[in-house]
Symmetry: C2
Subunit: 229 residues, 2 copies
DNA sequence: ACAGAATATGAGCGATCATTCGCTTTTTAA
DNA sequence: TTAAAAAGCGAATGATCGCTCATATTCTGT
């Protein structure tokens, strides 16, 4: 029987020392991605910066792609960790408070290692294995949809699927752009104001009921498409 | 004098034949990007698909990066071409109509070769020269800001800079996501509805004036930050 | 018809990179 | 103490890729 257990298995991490190695690899990868960009993140370079040999890298990760994917997952878990719980308490709150909290949480999540977040979003080609890692936003989506369902009666929207899409997409884009592209342009107060604005945007959309606009917007929106519940 | 004119100059395109070559290169690059992804788009492969030799490629483009950048620019020009004019007529229209038109135009612009658009957005690493090509969205931004300024009195927002950011970002993200990620999930009617929803979202935000919510939302938004004009 | 300019060719150079494998060192457990 | 398992090493391999250049073909003006 050809034993490949020593060459192939990759992925274990039982002893103390090996866990340190894996961690050094994570750290080094993140560091290089942030400071030198995806191009410069070759496996040899990563190993070098980690103070480890390439061979060791391949003991724990079957490919470079797997390593990067693991770094992404790790970043996502960090976000979840700093944000979990804040989401739980949202579920019970009324729409206005809930939305504002949601936006604030979104900002917070983008502030967990923003520079890494930006590289992951902009420089990592979504190819092969990396393609599947969009799972993250799906979670937000279903979570939000669940919230809308349980507060249906307070809302003016009837297509919750569509509404979730509109809200989640907007909040994500606004916070993402603000934190990762405009944090130099926006002052701290502006950032605070932006949270308010985003919350206002979404809340207004969900609860709506503008004063008296019969004949203007209402007519533009082709009636009948959303049959009343 | 060392003449490098035959080796270096790159970029000319005077005769008929050469224009065809350049065009074939554009076409081939786009084709490969769409059908095989950025990874597979090597210069040799591009030249092969274009029915041209690698040498010819380097007569007109100083680098692979330059070629890709040119393809991106070309795509942007195509968009501008199919959309120009529709934007001009927006300027004169009242807010509600203008916003709806703007959203519709955004959708239209994303429907110009959506598959190429998606690859350009997701697979091309924004590094080196490619980094500068974000100019496109800046244009939309200033355009929108100009519109808001000339309709200032009809709006409830006072920080037009911030408002432009909110609106442009939201519209872009919504249309981008809808067209490039959910066109299979969304039916045609849903897509139509989405335009309405996005327009409603933004219009409500800009013109606002919800009925009577004194003490709820108004209090949450920290007063005084936007000093009344 | 002809010369010079423009265009096209593609084998091959040099560099980079992901990955492997035979080997050494360290740790574990009996 | 010791043998086996775990972890670590890094030079070497093979493949890919961007790009060049010496040469060949085509075009243009005269």
């Amino acid at each position: 029987m050809a034993r490949k257990l020593l060459t192939k298995p990759r992925k274990t991490a039982s002893q103390e020392r090996s866990r340190a190695t894996v961690d050094a690899l994570f750290e080094a990868t993140a560091r290089i991605l942030v400071k030198e960009g995806f191009d410069k993140a070759s496996t040899n370079r990563i190993a070098e910066v980690a103070g480890v040999s390439v061979g060791s890298l391949y003991q724990y990760f079957p490919s470079k792609e797997a390593l990067v994917a693991a770094v992404i997952k790790r970043h996502q878990h960090k976000i979840m960790h700093t944000v979990r719980g804040e989401l739980a308490e949202v579920l019970a709150q009324p729409v206005e408070k809930a939305i504002r909290k949601l936006v604030a949480v979104a900002v917070k999540s983008h502030r967990v290692d923003p520079r890494l977040h930006r590289v992951l979003a902009e420089q990592i080609p979504r190819v092969g294995e990396l393609e599947k890692l969009e799972t993250f936003n799906r979670e937000n989506y279903t979570l939000f949809r669940t919230y809308l369902e349980s507060h249906r009666d307070e809302l003016r929207v009837d297509d919750l699927e569509l509404a979730s899409f509109v809200c989640v997409t907007s909040i994500e884009a606004l916070t993402h752009n603000a934190v990762l592209h405009y944090s130099k342009t926006f002052s701290d107060e502006t950032m605070e104001a932006l949270i308010d604005e985003a919350a206002y945007l979404v809340t207004g959309y969900l609860m709506g009921s503008r004063k008296n606009e019969a004949g203007s917007l209402s007519d533009q929106r082709h009636a009948g498409l959303h049959s009343p519940s």
